[in-house]
Amino acid sequence: MAGRTVTRADLCEAVYQRVGLSRTESAALVESVLSEICDCLERGETVKLSSFGSFVVREKGERIGRNPKTGVEVPIEPRRVMVFKPSNVLKARINGESAADGED
């Protein structure tokens, strides 16, 4: 099952196939879509992409961590992390179900 890795090049190819644009322009548009999403998240905004999922920025407070190798306690600074919440449609698709029956 461990398949291949899909990259930007594949996304560009998909855009190229579907929309009648040049390869160069397809690549540029994939880039602007991704950077628009990144910019939004950087501002702390949630990005919701229906039937795909949403990206949410969470503020983590400071906590005491531990170096797993040495056991030394180290403070973990407050920071922002981003989490992806897959939509029910995406989850169903990955499990080979139809989109309608999202949750059990």
């Binding site: 879509v33 998240l41 992390v81 981003m82 989850k91 698709r93």
Partner: protein, 117 residues
């Protein structure tokens, strides 16, 4: 921001494209990612992050309302790991931007943004 707003912004930056084209572009990107995950493939987008699929074994769950046990079948779930560059961008104003020992505590996990870039 929702999908239609994303489409609008991209359309504004590209006045030579129809909104319909931009919808197709965004759709093609998301569908390509979803298709890959449905096949069990990984999706790696440098500077953003990586999507992959993890198997969850079948387990005995519990209906939280009634307390009765129910069998939960094996399933696959999509997971996303934020890329290094994105992680740094989220904390740009903050302190300690050295990511030298950033990945130290991640045993054998996915390292989407390994060396390149």
């Amino acid at each position: 921001m929702i999908k239609s707003e994303l489409v609008m912004r991209i359309a504004e930056q590209n006045p030579h494209l129809y909104q319909r084209d931009v919808e197709n572009i965004v759709g093609a990107i998301l569908e390509t990612i979803a298709d890959a995950l449905a096949r069990g493939d990984r999706v790696e987008l440098r500077g953003f992050g990586a999507f992959s699929v993890k198997r969850r074994d079948a387990r005995m769950g519990r209906n939280p309302r009634t307390g009765e046990t129910v069998a939960v079948a094996e399933k696959a779930i999509p997971v996303f790991k934020t890329g290094k560059e994105m992680r740094n961008r989220l904390n740009r104003d903050g302190v300690g931007e050295d990511d030298a020992d950033d990945d130290a505590g991640e045993p054998g996990g996915v390292a989407p943004l390994a060396a390149a870039r």
